[in-house]
Structures are given as C-alpha cells and as structure tokens.
Symmetry: C2
Subunit: 413 residues, 2 copies
Amino acid sequence: MDIEQANLTAVERMMESHPVLVGVGKALDVIPGMREDLLLHAGPPITWERASGPMRGAITGALIFEGKAKNEAEAQKLIESGEIALEPCHHHNAVGPMAGLTSASMQVYIIEDKKFGHNTFSNLNEGYGKVLRYGAYSEEVINRLTWMNDTMAPLLRDAIEASGGIDMKALISEQLHMGDEAHNRNKAGSILFLKALAPHIARVAKDGATAGDVLQAIGDNALAVLNPVMAACKAMAIAAHGIEGSTIVSTMARNGTDFGIRVSGLGDQWFTGPVGNPKGLYFPGYTAEDGSGDIGDSTITETIGIGGFAMATAPAIVTFVSGTPKDAMNATLEMYEINYTEHKYFTMPALDFRGTPTGIDIRKVVETGITPRVNTGIAHKDAGVGQIGAGLVRPPMSIFEEALVAYAEKYGF
Amino acid sequence: MDIEQANLTAVERMMESHPVLVGVGKALDVIPGMREDLLLHAGPPITWERASGPMRGAITGALIFEGKAKNEAEAQKLIESGEIALEPCHHHNAVGPMAGLTSASMQVYIIEDKKFGHNTFSNLNEGYGKVLRYGAYSEEVINRLTWMNDTMAPLLRDAIEASGGIDMKALISEQLHMGDEAHNRNKAGSILFLKALAPHIARVAKDGATAGDVLQAIGDNALAVLNPVMAACKAMAIAAHGIEGSTIVSTMARNGTDFGIRVSGLGDQWFTGPVGNPKGLYFPGYTAEDGSGDIGDSTITETIGIGGFAMATAPAIVTFVSGTPKDAMNATLEMYEINYTEHKYFTMPALDFRGTPTGIDIRKVVETGITPRVNTGIAHKDAGVGQIGAGLVRPPMSIFEEALVAYAEKYGF
C-alpha cells in the first residue's frame, strides 16, 4: 500500500476535474435516486428527532412547497411515520448550502465533469433574508421558491444551454483573483456568473420584463453563484473519492447536529461528531446565544481547497466573518500544514500566486492537532427565523481520529 | 497664506465630491464649448506637427468618423489649415483614455457631481484590439464606433436613466475591494457596471437581440467602466481645483508627446515636459522599440488617489503590467510619501483597510525626488496599429519643479 501514491492520485484527480455548468432540471428528473417521497438535506444522515431548529424549519418549508404539509407538526408526522424519507444530498451527488433541502419538484443546477464524466447537482440560491436554507418557511419564502422554480429556473436553463455551458473551474479561478474565497464571499463570482449569462438571458427570454427580473435577482444576490460553485466542488471531490489507500478527505458536511467527513480510501462511511458553534459577526439584534450549530454542505468548498482555505486572497471578507486581514492571511498559511498540496489552478495573487492548500490529509490533521478552518453563515437556532450572522468554525478533532483508526483497521497499519 | 489649510480644503473637496453617472448624450449637445469644427484630445495642448503616431492616427479616425477626411493626409491638411481645431478634453471638463479623441457626433457619458454640481464627460470604451484610442482607424474601427454610437449609446442612455443613475463613487470603492486599482485593471468595476445596468438594459431595449448584443459588448470588455470611472475622477479633480494657495496637483495628463500637470492653486496653467516610455509587458511580437510615448487622460485616476497609487489592492495586475505582488504593495507605500492624505472612502483591505494615497503635493514630490507612479496601456508608435502592451511610467520631475517655481513666484515664497 503506497499511501503517498494514493494521495497523489486523489489530489491530482481533484485538481484535474473540470466541472462545467450545463443545465437546469427538475430534481426528480435529473438527480439519480430522487423520488417523490424523498427530501435531500445537508450533512450526514439525520432524523427529525435529532434535527436542529433550522433543519426542521427547512424540512417543513420543503414539504409546504411540495404541497404535502401545512405546518411543522404535519411535517414532523410525515417524517416520523416514514412516509417521507430523509437522505443526505451527498448520497445523490448533490450539495445544498445551510439546510440544503432539495425536494422532487425543485429545479436544480446540473454540473458535468468534462474530465471524468460524472454529474453533480445543487438547488438554486434564494438570496438573503427569510430563506428556506436558513430554516424559514413563511408564505414569502414559499412564494419566492415558486417564482424561482417557475420563472427563473426555465430562463436560466435556456440561457445556460444557449451559452454552451459555463466553465465553473475557470470562474472559480478568476473570482479568487477578485477578492472572493468562493464560500462566504462570492461577490465577484456572482457577477462573473451574471456576465456569462446576461446576453443569453436577454436573447432567450420571452420578454424584457422577465429578463430584467431574473437579471435583477442574480445581480442583487452576491451568493447567486454559491450553489453552482458548490456543485462544481462536489464534482472535484467525487473525482478524488474512492482511491484505494488514500487518506485525503473527500467530503465535509454538517446537518446542524453532526459534522461528518468521508475519506477517499474509506468508501462511503461517515465519521461524525457534534457540530461547533460558529464564532463571527452577528446581525443587529442577535448574539451567539441565538445561533444554531454549524450547518450546510458548503464545506465542500474547503474540501477541495477554497473557502476558508483561501482566506488570504479575500481580505475584505473580515468585514463579514470577523477578524483582521492578517488573520485571513494566517488562516491560509495554517491550512498548508494539513493539506497534501498546493492547487495547480486555484492561485492567490497576494501570496505571489501560490496555489491554495488542497487535499486535507487526515494523518496531518491528527499529527498537527490542526482541524480545517471553515467559513460559514450562521442560522438562528429556532425553525422559521433565518440567517443571523456569519463566521468561522472548525470540525471536531474526534472525527479525524476515528477516521484514522478506521483506516488503520482497514489497511492494517 | 496658509498652505496647509488650502491643501486640506482641496483634498477634502476631492474626497467629498460625489460623482454619479446620470446619462449619455451627443458631445456637441452636452459638452460645454464643443463645436462641429473641434476635436478634443488627451493631455495638454498639441499640434499636428508635434503629435505622436497614435495621436495622429486617432485624429484621422475621428475625422473619418465625422465624414470630414478619408485618410491621414486629408486629416493633416484639415488640422494644419486650422479648419479643424484641436483642444484638450481637460479644457472642456472631459477626459478620454489614450489618444482620448472625442468629436462632435460622438456619444459621451455624462457625470454629475451631486455634492458640488459640476458635470464631467468621457467617450465610450471601444474594447480591445484595433481601436481609435490607440490610433487605429481602419474600416472595422469606424464600423465599431458607428455601432457604439447608433445602437449601444441610446440603449445605455435609456438604461442609465431608468436606473436613476449609477453612483460611481460607491462603484470605485467596491471595485477596490475586488482586486481592481481602477485604471489598468477594471475587471470587477466593469462587471459591477454591467450588474447595475443589466436589468434596465433588458427592460428598456427594443428587442432581446439588441439587449443581448449590448450586454455582451459590456461583459466582454474588462475596461468597459474605465471611461465613466475617469469622468468620475475628473469630477473629483475639478472639486479640488482652483483653491487659492494649494500645492495639490489637480490634473495629470499626457498627449503622447508631453506630460502635463496643473496645480490647484495655480489656475489653468499647464506645466509640461517630455513623456516617458512605459516599462511593462508587451504583446507577442512587439518590444519596447515599438512603443509610443506615454499617452492619455487616464492619469486622472492617480490624480485622485487610485490607479497606480492603489496597486496594493490589485496584486493580480502584475500579470498585465509586469512586476511582482510585492512591487505592487511597494508602489502604494511609496506613494504615501508624496500625497497629502489617505482617502476617507477608497480603502484597501490588504493594507488593513488603509485609505489610498490621495492628493499629490508638488512640494513633497520635489523634496523627496519621488514622482507619481502611473499605470498605463502602451500604444504602437505608428498611426493605425493599436495597443501593444501595458506597463508603468512616471512623469518628468522637471514639471513639478517648474510648478513649484511658479507657485513661489505667484505666492511670493
């Protein structure tokens, strides 16, 4: 068993993956294994009983959206009776920010890995304020989802098709030179996305008013590109997964209760532990007391070397997640300690175009005692409220230790 | 005579100026003093005899565009006979990149200073390749100008009006947090500009195809916003001009032959000296031998504290203008030596959100022996060719010395 060779193969495949946004389609039609009676959620597997407030809120909202429940009590009944199943997005090559709820009728982005051939998926980004992904499910949330599904998604689908596809790897590479770390800060990426789509949206829209509304919705949302970026990262992570003998992390995700990782050489087994509470900046009127535990699949960005790992290229982000530009620089420098390599294609001008730290090695995490740094939004702990801040968080060390034990058992070291 | 008070007033007015892009109009109708028989050009005053290759090429192109000449010989005859006059853009509250040619029929951006009330102007940006501003005047150049004038400009006008105006001060402030120094690198600014206009363009366009073409033209041009940025800077510079006793530079501009400055407390007198040859990176097939002398009004960016002065916030620019990210950092640090203050609103995350060096003081330039650093494009020395590179250049020290002598004479120091 040559671990170094296995890890080299894993990170090379991660970096050579070439995700392109090729379309938009209905989850039921395009996501493998999707069913009418299934909801996909962020993080490792979860039950209603153990689900956090925002996760319960988002499940409720998704069932209201599907016309299957009217309130949280009905949602609970459907889930607990087993009539509606819950499964991780990650079990279906999908990812979703925060609660990550994706139901059968929802329109999702379709990414194709042009190098390795697999597809990945993510739901559409709702913007700010009261949104499903943070556990809000009021009428305005559902109306917004309906407009996105019925009006925005078909136009995006046609525009993406007319564009011939949007090269997400090139987009991420470019936004990293424009002050984004591509997780919490996707300001440049979102307008690069707008730039790529705008002419096609104008040309294929049935009228100028619809085109204008969709261009406005994308332009007003500095996280518009987060979801396709995440799906692109998922494609890169899949490319690195399942390499016999590799100690590289191929999934990091949180469901609001558990932080879970999977390791390339350890198949589909999750290693989970309790989520932390993010440290960061809270919106006026809220404090750390109000915050839910860490939640979301968006740690797929750090998994492939961007997000919190690329903080050095995004000094302006500290106004959003707290800290100073020097802290941001140090965050990246620290991450080199636990990653296998420096990214070939994702570089940071401020560090003399050095590649981002890429490929978390569970051996290095355990050896150094340094866990990955993750940027994140902060949800209110109660269902139905929404986002109350943004900050930084780390996974528990125990899950890396358990993974290393499992690795030793499997490979006999 | 309290010089410190005068300079404080000048830089405060520079920083409090609030330029907003309010419209697009025909130069003849909107630029004060514009006439049918007048061409505006970059830099201090110039004659045909002393004009550089790219300036002659651009004059020729503007006269072809106006239907007044067919070739360079006819253009020369018109200018030398005095039938067509040449005057600096700066004498008409206008600015233009590179040759800066602006003729009576051309559509121009209209900026209004919401704080001080004055208007400024700039022509539209043509994009890359063979373009008038670099002295090219072939049929494709003229056809492009015609499309811009007849199709793009009216749609931009309607979209800008529908938007209620674009706050250029906020836009510049934002792009400085996204890796632009807002002179040679306007990548983020141009897509922020697109973002602000896209929904309105889609809504007011007569059809989706036209909207698509204009959105494509803006999106494909990473310098699309340079011209309105320059006009915004001109508004800030005007606000700082004419303060009795001030030693702050209120204009820096080059015509390809002379580098000229004007000083706030010295009225409209130009101090000129020979332009340098930019040091930088050349496109494949060209060398420094092929380069024209420094040209353009775009040094209005450095005049008000951005561009070459804000290099520290734009490390990725070194791939375009040469050098290393450390050189970029040092460029900004050096400029603090000769500037009066740090900008209140234009900040740089990488320098812990320190304000950009703002308000060049001719006393400090002469005392320290440090001249301003200017980012620039490089034109081919012959008429009709175009851009061949980009780099860095400095004005001659002599013009600051002459200005200081003139100041001493006027104020009796």
